[in-house]
Symmetry: C2
């Protein structure tokens, strides 16, 4: 397999691509052969680094016969056009979460991939994290009895990282719902088997200077009776990484002395300066990739089963059993997101779809919208487009 890597074309060389670099660099099962990006400096940097071809548009990239599959890492609102273009060209697709912003777009994308006979994978999301994958398999095995409840919480500085203006407008996919809730939903759906039935939620939109959802809290019930409790705040106060062994979302050791950094960096910046600051985090801008020493995570997660509670940590699963505690390691490897590459390789080479298909991504997106609707109406919202996690 190593001698015949999947030949991947990257669309978008921004922050999302940056976070995939350590994996692409370390996993021999994939090879970057092309990239599409609007900025010349990014394309040049890509060509120098990977020896692949730089294109100005996704159409040009998709016309390259050497590209087997495309990784779409563009801003949310562009996913729909880019997925449709890739499907039309008959390329397999890995598209960043969220699949889309509107359900209509998501539906068009899923249908386009199906009609073109290509695999559509939505990821990476934190449901690919090794400890999540391990926990899901442990739960599925039945070793600990029925899964009854999941508690997931995450307190980050998301809302105060540098943003482009549209990233602070909910209707354009801004705020924590489409960028962050989608992760947590993906994680709990992965653990609970996917078939959510109902959600009831409250959202927080508390900073007039950044007028979009910065927090939410929700209860989701699943077929079979499991219930998940989700809480997220991106308001850069409490940092739940202190309950994750001081390991950050990307697996990096976190320095407690850096508290308040995100808010401080934004002070007195106008939107244009802020967007410029964000662009310093993209490929070709000289920004260094994150140095991880642990698996990625999305905050504390406890999964309550009949015979044990499973606590997910950046290094594995702590099993709190009836009479004893033990730890099951999820070894951190050189390719932090190898599960994403695995999903891609199995789809492209063995025609085996992953859990996180287009249908799966659409189902997670449905929950985001249901949270917004429930918060508006104060009522539980029934879900209609869920799918299960069986592979």
């Amino acid at each position: 397999m190593t001698s015949d890597p999947v030949r991947l074309g990257v669309v978008g060389l921004g922050r999302a691509f940056m976070l995939m670099i350590p994996t692409f660099d370390a996993d021999p099962r994939v090879k970057l052969v092309a990239a599409a990006a609007p900025r010349q400096e990014s394309r040049t940097a890509f060509e120098q680094e990977y020896g692949g071809k730089g294109y100005e548009s996704i159409e040009a990239l998709c016309a390259d016969p050497d590209v087997e599959a495309v990784y779409i890492a563009t801003p949310h609102q562009m996913h729909v056009d880019h997925v449709l273009a890739a499907a039309k060209a008959g390329k397999h697709i890995l598209v960043e979460k969220p699949l889309a912003i509107s359900m209509e777009d998501a539906d068009r994308m899923v249908r386009a991939a199906r009609e073109a006979g290509v695999h559509l994978i939505v990821g990476p999301s934190h449901s690919f994290d090794l400890p999540v994958d391990l926990a899901a398999r442990l739960i599925e095995s039945g070793e600990f009895g029925a899964l009854r409840m999941i508690q997931a919480l995450n307190y980050t500085d998301f809302l105060y990282r540098p943003r482009r203006p549209e990233e602070l407008r909910t209707e354009e996919g801004g705020g924590v719902m489409f960028s962050q809730a989608i992760h947590q939903i993906d994680v709990v759906r992965r653990l609970a088997g996917g078939m959510a039935e109902k959600v009831v939620a409250f959202t927080g939109n508390w900073d007039p200077k950044r007028p979009t959802e910065g927090a939410f809290t929700a209860l989701m019930s699943f077929a079979g009776g499991c219930v998940a409790n989700l809480t997220y705040s991106g308001y850069a106060h409490f940092d739940s990484d202190i309950w994750m062994n001081d390991v950050g979302e990307l697996g990096q050791a976190k320095d407690p002395a850096s508290y308040g950094k995100a808010r401080r960096a934004l002070m007195d910046l106008d939107p244009e300066e802020e967007a410029r600051l964000k662009s310093t985090r993209t490929f070709g801008s000289g920004a260094a990739p994150i140095e991880a020493a642990h698996n990625e995570h999305f905050g504390p997660v406890i999964a309550l089963c009949d015979r044990a509670d499973l606590r997910l940590t950046p290094d594995g699963i702590e099993v709190f059993g009836d009479t004893e505690r033990r730890f099951i390691e999820a070894p951190f490897g050189p390719a932090p997101r190898k599960t994403v590459v695995e999903a891609l390789v199995r789809a492209v080479r063995e025609d085996v779809p992953p859990v996180q298909t287009g249908e799966w991504g659409l189902a997670s997106l449905e929950v985001c919208h249901a949270i917004l609707r429930s918060a508006e109406t104060g009522q539980p919202v029934a879900l209609q487009h869920q799918c299960n996690a069986h592979q």
Copy 2:
């Protein structure tokens, strides 16, 4: 004040009384002058320890003119009769949570106290914990802006501590709702100001051998827009004290090596043996009081305000502000529950009611019932009997 302590009669010398002993022993503002208990050995132990008088019934105790106020620490289902008897005798009352099991009983008790012109205080509950009290005052001060959200969670071994049979029957006040949820509700109501509006919840009843609620998860919304997220599990697996500096509910240092102790102690016991094991934890049975070195707590609590998140710990409040973290100590003193004594003394001597009045206890009880009803119907339940925390 010290030279003229409140002369208290204790009704019930079981586990609840045991947990008050360190406070009664250390706080000179209260003096135990009488006790009522059905068992001779408890009464004798009380007389020897405190020099007060032992009575066989609450009526006899209440006829003692030396008794100014009574502390009712009997099993839940007896609270109603005992509160009515004390009110009838014109004694001020401190009654253990929950005030009652049924709303009808709670209502009768509140009316009886009002008609008799005596103070009715419901406690101790964890809303009296020093860090909770401190956080409530900080929030009320407005220093951190509006309170937006509260996250409260607690994972304990409650369901596997030794129980009398009725403590495992919900309709008789058993399970986690009336003994444990009531604490968490009291804490979040104290922080949010008391006026809950709606609750939506799920409950867990997962062990056929202990067929009562052992877990729940709920969202409560408050007047003013704050929302609280509550989760509790008493299934003796994950232990959230690891997120409270390894300090237990009663302020004691916890030995991680004792994991699984509660379940192990119950193995192979029949209900009668279990009830006998429980009775070894009462007064006069030789059980030692808990040795606390920190304030009591009821699991991790995060209160999100506009300008800071407050994290409650057993030693105070960690303030996660916009650009810096700081710690406000809640000093642990020799009388762990001095706030309860304070409430009693102020009510009896200065005619100032505490936050935790009978009306307050009835309002918290209403939420317990609303959680059960919401879990049954799958719908949010509107609350009708709330009161605020203004003193």
